[in-house]
Point group: C2
Chain length 355, copies 2
Amino acid sequence: MTQNNHSGHVMAMEASSTITLSDVAQAAGVSVSTASRALNGLDAKYRISRSTAEEVRRVAGELGFRPNQAARAFRSQRSGLVGVVVPDIANPFFAAIAREVTLAAEQHQYSILIADSQESTLREQNLLQEFVSRQVEALVVCPVGVECQHLVAIHQSNLPLVLVDRVFPQCEMMQVTSQHRTGAQLAAELLLANGHRHIGVLQGLPGTLPNDERLQGLRETLHSVGIPFDSEFVDGNNFTEVSGYESATRLLSRHPEITAFFALSTPNALGALRASAGLGRSVPDDLSIMTFDDSPFADFMRIPLSTVCQDVQKLGEQAASIVVSALRDGKMPPPTLQQFQVTVVQRSSIESARL
Amino acid sequence: MTQNNHSGHVMAMEASSTITLSDVAQAAGVSVSTASRALNGLDAKYRISRSTAEEVRRVAGELGFRPNQAARAFRSQRSGLVGVVVPDIANPFFAAIAREVTLAAEQHQYSILIADSQESTLREQNLLQEFVSRQVEALVVCPVGVECQHLVAIHQSNLPLVLVDRVFPQCEMMQVTSQHRTGAQLAAELLLANGHRHIGVLQGLPGTLPNDERLQGLRETLHSVGIPFDSEFVDGNNFTEVSGYESATRLLSRHPEITAFFALSTPNALGALRASAGLGRSVPDDLSIMTFDDSPFADFMRIPLSTVCQDVQKLGEQAASIVVSALRDGKMPPPTLQQFQVTVVQRSSIESARL
DNA sequence: GTGAAAGCGCTAACAC
DNA sequence: GTGTTAGCGCTTTCAC
């Protein structure tokens, strides 16, 4: 690392002696209240004369007046903040959701407070408390997904809260996720159609809705064709590559008859790819892989992964739209559980099972 | 999409009639000031009796007192906020930086305001103004990178500001980026060693330091071995896949003698992969590709991309550490330009040029 | 049409 | 050791 210390640098200008509303009022020759009204575009409501209002705004612009949002938020009880909590900002899935919400919020003059729970429910709780005490006007949460009391409490306090992805169907809240069960069924049908009968499942975080609904979808499809669903063939504890690697390794050694993996996340699938390489099983001829969630790299992979795609943009947009309408109307939207369609993209990671 | 409207739902409990500091004080039988001190852990400083302090805290806990951070921020002029502005939250590079900063901030009880400039300097300016008026105590900005006056102004107002990635060496600020020039030189040497003499450059956003330093590194290395650097062989206007696709297509049709591409970003390289497929040039036998920035998918690609890797985590950590120390010490760190080492990872996207 | 003035909930002099 | 009190910058009720 190189480091160039600039020398002789003078820390210029004291924090440009902030212009306050009363400065503007004084300069414009009006009272603070008139200035406030004019600057908030309340001319009509308070029947401020056109000339006065414009003069105030002109002066404010000239002085470079920036209303102190902290003061404004405090006084008006409107922070102009929307809180977003996700388990991992760097995960493309959550990043995409954060992005949609952020863009929507920016459009409506709200700012976004973001936090990373690092997949810890405890952290999630604390971060949410923090956001609540910062007076956020709405929350979008991609929860860790195994506990929900703290979320219910927030919802009940009448603070608009939208859950995304790992939702809680038993709770009456605003929730947005995908049709995981259907997705898994489609995936299972594809594997069955290719002759796979011994399917190993690399699961993510057990107890979360996406994980469990996917398992259930698979189970149902297998049952429907008379194949028993053996929990011995399910392994994994997280939506991570490490979990995928470890569970794939264990499953392959315990059940060499496995001809296909159903990974419940893309990192899980990548782990499986590494594991199978290490164990001399080649994909797809020797081992098929089906996964969840798409990535922009999918088409460029050595073994392009067949996958169940969620419409991440739609999830984010919908979450944003619920939040925005709650903020606009000032009332809680009705609690709903929305589940968006998924699509299956078949790529070469699936081959017919060898007989 | 399915939609289950829960019915008969009662919007319970009014926003739990917020407990204020004076409620706590009253309940504990002390004045607000004592309560404030006790709750802020200033017992020692104000020599509050152990029993009183503990009683106050007990009562506060019992009542579920949550200090109104908006009020606190307003009064104390300490918002406890750090602003982060990036050109695209969903871009893994920026997401990783945002994550490091967020985690560091959370550790120090700060919250993160995040915003997405969408590669627009104008938006960047507005977002920064917004953050300033929200009284952020520090800013981390991955700027669009072609204009810097607005950033200089912020720096001069004595608000701690750290620039990451697309920095401005001519400005005296706190800046963190990679050794782009060196990286490009290493990349160029690798291409030269493989016999490539006609190298097409798929550039990103011209005028930004990473882009221009990389071009310069390439130029220098070519010159050093007596190969002229022809700007005819440089095309592109953005760090995006679209730009990469278009510039690769143009370059290949105008200069079919090109045997290798140097893409200045991974999306640029993906665009080149698509373009070359369309034009019947196969990578790597018929066309080599070298790129910048790594991705977790690199090892799984059909044509694993050779790349110059930046240490994203270090960039983020360093930005965070500068910010944290500025916040802790309450003074501006010295303006520095730090450039972190890069490493070259050679993968199979590079082959010897056909003679 | 405009101004005066009362706080929002909290912190920090200052008083004793 | 603890209480009293004056605001922070703004919005908003009430007065005129």
